[in-house]
């Protein structure tokens, strides 16, 4: 007598063997850590030439209390793998609606960042420097949203399995970051970083970023749900993307200081 659980497992195992066997054909032999990191960065931050998505963030504290943030992100790549523009426009909660955050991401040198607060009627540049500050109270850092420059860390492949390359990264300038090292699990099939774990000076993991759901959007593998967990107190932030669209043709002049006060409605609202 076979029980159904056993049957399922056997079938699954068989499928996995066939599947991974097929995968191995495409697996890159002798790929370097630097190349992998670049590919991962491209997959995670440079899908299409531009893009728009609605995002909803649920921030849950150690007591289980929730805060919500809802915003639209517009992105334009000036150069694939290079300079980028981001515009983040908040819609909820209602009392921060219209708050705008803009980034001109550079390859070398510091990014330019701006802020617009409608209730104070205030446009402010945010000084270059530390990007590992919280993104509006979430467990995400600004750097997680726009991407950490691959040149800031040294990279090393420390392992792999059927599905993932496992990389370890160490900061070149230790005092500029709060971590001692981090590891990334990069999906072999699409190069999306599926899991990033941060370690403190004692080698203890304290922070975890996970991609929970990946979907094909216009044939581009795209993370739709992600989660950051503070492993010390188990508080976390869930990020869900919706109405994701690539290559909408947004012009560069949408990402100017002038546009902060009058966010480009036509590009923010999807059809």
């Amino acid at each position: 007598m076979f029980n159904s659980g056993y049957m399922k497992k056997t079938v699954l195992m068989t499928l996995m063997i066939i599947f991974t066997g097929a995968m191995n054909v495409f697996a890159e032999e002798n790929i370097s850590a630097e190349e992998l990191v670049k590919k991962a960065s491209l997959s995670a931050y440079y899908g299409g030439n531009d893009g728009r998505t609605m995002a909803r963030m649920k921030i849950v504290d150690a007591n289980g209390r929730e805060q919500l943030r809802q915003f639209t992100i517009l992105r334009k790549d000036i150069e694939e793998g290079g300079e980028q523009r981001f515009l983040v426009v908040f819609s909820r909660p209602a009392d921060v609606s219209g708050t705008v955050f803009m980034v001109h991401k550079k390859v070398t040198g510091d990014d330019d960042r701006w802020l617009y607060l409608p209730a104070l009627d205030l446009v402010k540049r945010i000084s270059a420097g530390d990007k590992r500050t919280s993104f509006v109270g979430a467990h995400y850092f600004y750097e997680d949203v726009s991407g950490r420059a691959t040149t800031e860390d040294t990279h090393q492949i420390v392992g792999q399995d059927e599905k993932f390359y496992i990389l370890e990264h160490k900061p070149k300038s230790a005092e500029s970051v709060e971590f001692a090292s981090y590891k990334t699990w990069i999906d072999k099939s699409n190069h999306l970083p599926m899991k990033i774990e941060y370690y403190d000076n004692n080698g203890k993991a304290y922070r975890l970023i996970e991609a929970l759901k990946v979907e094909m959007v216009q044939n581009i593998p795209t993370v739709m749900d992600a989660k950051v967990t503070n492993l010390v107190d188990n508080s976390y932030t869930l990020m869900a993307f919706r109405k994701m669209q690539y290559d909408i043709g947004v012009p560069e002049d949408v990402f100017t200081e002038r546009a902060l006060r009058n966010p480009p409605a036509q590009w923010l609202k999807g059809q």
């Binding site: 504290d61 802020l115 500050t133 010390v232």
Partner: protein
């Protein structure tokens, strides 16, 4: 009853020994389960509303117990010098690596964020001190930044800039001893730039726990030794006085075993049980041995003598044991759990000691050899007279009190009047930090840090919005009327209405908005009704976020300004200070912009920026994420309950004069406030306990003596003693604190003993002789001797508490010793004087019999 017990003791001595051994070691073994509790919070019962609220506030605002590490730059230098800051950075980094520290909440110059202007139209968020300064100018620059942040000044850096602190929040306060030791160790490896001080409630509590054991380990055995030597001096027979020591040890061990076995923790109060029971447990034996020594003559049968003595003393010993234990049992009426436990177990200990005395002492004495007893006799009496000093002095005393009876009564009356005047001068005050001696490290740290900073004592004034359900109902009704005219499909309307039926919606506006957003997104009918519902919900959500409303924040700002004018509050911190700081830096950096934004949205957007720092979670220590509860954190430089009480009173008055608008409740939390609450309970509880035990003891006396007038007489010495003691506290200005409060009920139970013995024996002798003069002559021989010996045993038995490392123990020791001495003195002077004056009246009935 009495004869049967004594017979049992005399006929089956070996069985008595076995029973005693089995009980002592059987119950005593439970002591192995000892659990120490040093949390002053436990002075309040777990369901005490003030304590429940305090813990709720701790949870709502994610507050931890904190170890405070203070660093004062040496040579009177500014703390903003390269070496001092480098050490501080190293120490702070080390603290972050210690297991058990809540790292995200560690506050020091190197873990906090700075927000500032960085040139025209630019704002900067950065760590205040990410790396140690590499030059003096960098160190000075850090000082310049720090002094602009209201949260830092006088909290993390002293106003005189000579000291800085590291606030170390810990996850489990039972780990504070280990963590503070680790910090102390690390300090040794630093350069010699700063002097360090470690304090904070968890450290104080842990240290207290350690010293409590020292007290039990040193004072209690020392008391045993003092009592043993004293009895040896009285009775000159080492073998004989071992008997009461066995009774005392068996009582202490059995009672502690029973208490711990029943799951009670050893708290500051119950740690005093051994030293209380030790002298109390021997008093009955002292009476027996005293009279035995007097009556036993060589050639007499010791068994017969001990039987005569014991049955003779049975009644007064029973009376005193019952009344004394009633005094302790009355502590069960106080609303303070540790005091209840203390009272109940000491009370039971007294009854146990009585029973053990009755069954063990006769058994023991009956088994002593004739030779040993003869030896004792020879040493005690030469020429048939007692040798002791006490024996020589007492008869004079008796004559003196009779001769000057009226003068003595007048003197007692005057003492009573003066004491009552003193009662009105009593100042009620306590401060757990003062439980340590003045030269203790914790006291030193406390003084230094409160001298430099705005205060290390915390109280929280909590504002809670209570109108949620009213707002909810209005919103629900508004949504319903909007739905009536909406173009949304019936199916979706049903789903929307279903939302309001769900229970326990924690953040209804947020979830409702999400649901509507999703619905609008999926809806392909082109219905526009969602926008109306969302608009209504936005209004509702804004109304719930009470503490983003500028008017409410302005009220808090005003109250904080007022607090500073009281002179009792060194500094107060609230979300308002946070908002104003961020607003200032967002706008211009000028102090003119250190204001609350004009709209609630402005406040929310300012706070959104605060949350874009390295430490967004700091916001939730001041306001809840739903913005319906907020607090002002008060820093007080004094932990005196008196000062906290005055702050509470002033704030109450302010709130009455400037009522807070809207449906908002204002309540207190914080350690300093909790201390005040349990002090209030202690004072009123002790008063209740004292009055009720006074009444109970009086009724018992009147019943036992079958005479109201003798009942009143029996209460006389202790009344004078208590009045005298508390009057004295008033006159000399000592604070009425926890140990003093507890003493009142103890005094009553203990000092009534002397009066009972004196009256009971007087009446018995008078009944025999029928002559007052002769009665008094007789009284000032053996009976007065026994009373005096007992007074000395108890008074001196408590003196080892003076060696204790903690102040409450010393207070208890000093006061109890004095009380016992005074009440014995009053008994043997005032009682005969009073009876002399009243003799025609009180002995009329007896004589007639």
């Amino acid at each position: 009853m009495s004869t049967r017990l004594i017979d049992f003791s005399l006929t089956r001595p070996v069985l008595v020994y076995w029973l005693l051994a089995i009980m002592t070691f059987g119950v005593g073994a439970l002591i192995m389960n000892i659990k120490v509790d040093t949390d002053p919070e436990n002075m309040l019962s777990a369901d005490e509303p003030a304590r429940v609220f305090h813990n709720q506030v701790k949870e709502n605002f994610l507050l931890s117990d904190i170890i405070v590490v203070g660093a004062v730059a040496k040579n009177d230098a500014s703390i903003f010098n390269q070496a001092s800051l480098t050490d501080l950075k190293i120490l702070s980094d080390y603290v972050l690596s210690i297991d058990g520290v809540k790292t995200s909440d560690v506050n020091s110059l190197s873990t906090i964020d700075n927000i500032e202007q960085a040139g025209e139209g630019t704002i900067r968020f950065e760590w205040m001190m990410n790396t140690a300064p590499e030059s003096q100018s960098e160190a000075t620059a850090i000082g310049k930044k720090a002094e602009r942040l209201p949260f830092v000044v006088n909290s993390l850096v002293s106003g005189d800039e000579k000291a800085a602190t590291i606030y170390v929040p810990i996850i489990d306060k039972n780990e504070s001893y280990r963590i503070s030791n680790q910090i102390s160790e690390k300090v040794k490896s630093l350069s010699n730039a700063n002097q360090y001080y470690i304090t904070g409630l968890p450290v104080a509590e842990d240290t207290f726990g350690v010293q409590m054991f020292v007290q039990m380990g040193i004072s209690a055995p020392a008391a045993a030794l003092v009592i043993y030597l004293l009895m040896l001096y009285f009775f000159k027979s080492a073998k004989l006085v071992v008997a009461p020591m066995i009774v005392a040890m068996a009582t202490v061990i059995t009672i502690m075993g029973a208490m711990i076995g029943m799951g009670h923790t050893v708290h500051i109060m119950s740690s005093m049980i051994p030293i209380f029971l030790m002298p109390i447990a021997v008093v009955d034996s002292v009476h027996i041995m005293s009279e035995f020594a007097d009556l036993y003559k060589p050639g007499k049968c010791p068994k017969a003598t001990i039987k005569e003595v014991t049955s003779h003393l049975y009644q007064p010993m029973l009376f005193t044991s019952i009344t004394s234990s009633a005094g302790f049992f009355s502590l069960a009426l106080t609303p303070i759990p540790p005091v209840q436990v203390f009272g109940i177990f000491v009370g039971m200990g007294m009854l146990l000691a009585f029973i053990l005395t009755i069954i063990f002492i006769p058994a023991y004495i009956s088994r002593m050899s004739e030779e040993q007893l003869h030896n004792m006799q020879r040493k005690l009496f030469s020429n048939g007279h007692s040798n002791s000093t006490i024996a020589k002095i007492l008869p004079f005393w008796g004559k003196f009190s009779l001769k000057n009876a009226k003068l003595i009564i007048l003197a007692a009356f005057s003492v009573a009047v003066i004491s009552i005047m003193g009662l009105y001068k009593i100042q009620i005050n306590d401060n757990p930090i003062r439980w340590f001696k003045s030269d203790h490290d914790i006291r030193v740290a406390d003084r230094v840090l409160n001298d430099h900073f705005a205060g290390t004592y915390d109280a929280h004034l909590v504002f809670s919005f209570k109108g949620q359900s009213d707002l909810f109902n209005v919103w629900k009704a508004d949504i319903e009327s909007a739905l009536q005219v909406s173009d949304i499909s019936e199916e979706n309307k049903t789903q929307i209405r279903a939302f309001f039926i769900k229970d326990n919606i924690v953040t209804p506006a947020q979830s409702f908005t999400l649901m509507l957003d999703d619905m609008a997104f999926e809806d392909e009918s082109g219905a526009t009704g969602y926008d109306d519902l969302l608009a209504i919900t936005d209004v509702y959500a804004a109304k719930n976020k009470v503490f983003t409303q500028p008017a409410k924040l302005a009220y808090i700002e005003k109250l904080q300004e007022y607090l500073l004018t009281t002179g009792l509050v060194g500094k107060s911190n609230s979300v308002v200070d946070l908002i104003k700081t961020v607003n200032r830096e967002l706008r211009s950096g000028d102090s003119a912009d250190y204001v609350i934004p004009e709209t609630a949205n402005g406040v929310s957007q300012t706070l959104l920026q605060f949350q874009s720092s390295h430490r967004p979670q700091d916001l939730w220590h001041f306001v809840t994420p739903s913005y319906d509860q907020t607090l002002i954190w008060l820093q007080l430089t004094s932990g005196d309950n008196q000062d906290m009480a005055e702050v509470v009173e002033l704030v109450d008055k302010y709130l009455a004069d400037n009522p807070v608008a809207g449906d908002i409740e204002v309540n207190w939390a914080g350690k300093a406030y909790l201390n005040l609450i349990w002090q209030d309970k202690m004072v009123s509880g002790m008063f209740d306990s004292l009055t009720s035990s006074f009444v109970i003891v009086f009724l018992m006396m009147a019943f036992l003596f079958r005479s109201v007038i003798f009942g009143l007489l029996a209460m006389l010495p202790l009344t004078i003693t208590i009045l005298f003691m508390y009057g004295m506290i008033g006159w000399i200005g000592k604070y009425y604190d926890m140990p003093i409060a507890v003493l009142s009920a103890l005094t009553l139970g203990l000092s009534v003993d002397f009066a009972i013995h004196f009256i009971e024996r007087t009446r018995a002798i008078y009944a025999e002789t029928g002559d007052w003069k002769e009665t008094i002559n007789h009284m000032f021989k053996e009976p007065a001797r026994a009373i005096t010996r007992n007074a000395l045993v108890i008074a001196l038995g408590f003196t080892p508490l003076l060696l204790a490392p903690l102040v409450p123990y010393i207070t208890v020791g000093a006061f109890l010793a004095t009380i016992m001495a005074v009440s014995a003195l009053v008994t043997i002077v005032l009682l005969p004087a009073s009876m002399h004056v009243l003799k025609g009246f009180i002995f009329k009935d007896d004589a007639a019999k």
